[in-house]
Symmetry: C2
Subunit: 273 residues, 2 copies
């Protein structure tokens, strides 16, 4: 099940891991996916998930992922330990640690499963939105490096520090895809699932120091469906629920262009005033 | 920071832990909180959180909790290992494992923080609901043991296998509190946060084998606020987003009677047909 991806896309370079010993991989931070402090959280989530995807003992495909951002990741090498802590007949639970110089910077858990066709029903319908090619691409000049790796097409709830506006809500609705285009896979979907600007920026239209503390994603898809979507835009919606005393939580969802809900995600974000 | 709770409430007995060695506690499954297979997931979540609450090295109060139900918990003793994997100035990340006979049954991560007063805003308002004392309590006779430890007052979206009805939605709105009444604390809130019946039962008004695989909670509260709420009812809303090929995710929220959002929670649930 080990796959070596030789793509020259910056994303594939960023999540590239080399197996070093059993349950262990080494990787390196990626300049194109840099954020204010350390890497864009989504690329860290994708890299951790990639360790499981590459692991020779993996069974099934990802169903859930939780990443805890415990401390800053410095520019340079890191080591990921990925341990299958419990393997059942068709399900598997993983614990992961990302360390630099022996210090834990990130922890994660992943759950994979072999899924079978069952009664299915989507309750959360995709919001209606104008087609992405009728919308302007978010300008990325002068912004954090990672942002230029995505093509953001906002319907509502954009945030551009150079062009703030009055807002009474944190809600955003937008189309998004990798830039340059890249065929969707689980790590790519995980990264896009963390590409929402902190809701506090959207709500208040101003920057404050902020960073995700814990992130959870549920994958409602499989590799066959992802291959069908290819490098098309995804429709994305995000909103904050409660902001209180240094932390706020945000909920977000991603749909394919034909309205399939692919990902449900929540995160809790620290902010300082 | 170690607290020994000598309450005779069945909940306090169920989450009771004895420190055995550094970072390790022993506990025992509780008959009153039994579910179909093993304990009610909420009591397991509460017990894991209680290990952190009791740990002498804890700083701050819980902000997030993720529990992965990796395998069944058998009736009897279990060992919880709770390790502070990263402690910063005012935040702390924990990794937990629950084992029986050396086998991992449950994994968890907890994030705690010392919070300071900041700009705050609740975006997700409480739904309107009739007062709990105008609603009938859900009958608990003949149902899973743990259900009788709660006073459920459904506004909409109940599920009683003896009285199924036609339903086109998984949404439930209800009041809930411990029965007998118990003053709210973080473990108590965590357990109530997992007290929603699987959304598939609500949607289809029938039982299928189902179990939570991974559960995440964000606490928007503190011990002072919880003490003010005391043993009052909480308003609870839950809905499924996507059901597909053996798994569905559900989102839920808990508010105090005066409309404060206390908890946002999501989970991914396995089901079999």
């Amino acid at each position: 099940m080990t796959e070596v991806n030789l793509s020259s896309h910056a994303f594939d370079q960023a999540v590239l891991l080399a197996p070093t010993e059993p349950n262990q991989f080494s990787g390196h931070t990626s300049e194109p996916y840099a954020n204010m402090v350390g890497p864009f959280g989504g690329i860290t989530a994708a890299t951790l998930l990639n360790a499981v995807m590459q692991h020779p003992e993996r069974i099934g495909e990802p169903v859930s992922l939780t990443v805890n951002f415990a401390g800053p990741i410095e520019t340079g090498e890191f080591i990921i330990e990925a341990v299958p802590v419990r393997t059942n007949r068709s399900t598997q639970h993983w614990n992961l640690l990302l360390r630099q110089n022996g210090t834990v910077a990130t922890t994660a858990t992943v759950f994979c499963a072999v899924r079978r066709e069952t009664w299915s029903e989507q309750e959360l319908a995709a919001p209606s939105a104008p087609a992405p090619d009728t919308l302007e691409r978010l300008p990325t000049e002068g912004r954090r490096g990672w942002i230029s790796n995505y093509d953001f097409r906002f319907v509502t709830g954009g945030y551009d520090p150079a062009r703030p506006y009055e807002s009474s809500s944190s809600r955003s609705l937008l189309w998004i895809r990798d830039h340059p285009r890249r065929a969707l896979d689980f790590p790519g979907l995980a990264a896009i699932g963390d590409s929402f600007f902190p809701r506090l920026f959207t709500r208040r239209q101003q920057f404050v120091p902020a960073g995700t503390v814990s992130l959870t994603m549920y994958f409602h898809t499989d590799s066959t469906q992802l291959a069908q979507i290819g490098d098309d835009y995804l429709l994305a919606e995000a909103v904050a629920n409660q902001t209180r005393n240094n932390y706020f939580d945000q909920s977000a969802h991603l749909w394919s262009r034909d309205g399939q809900l692919l990902l449900s995600t929540t995160q809790i974000v620290y902010f300082k005033e």
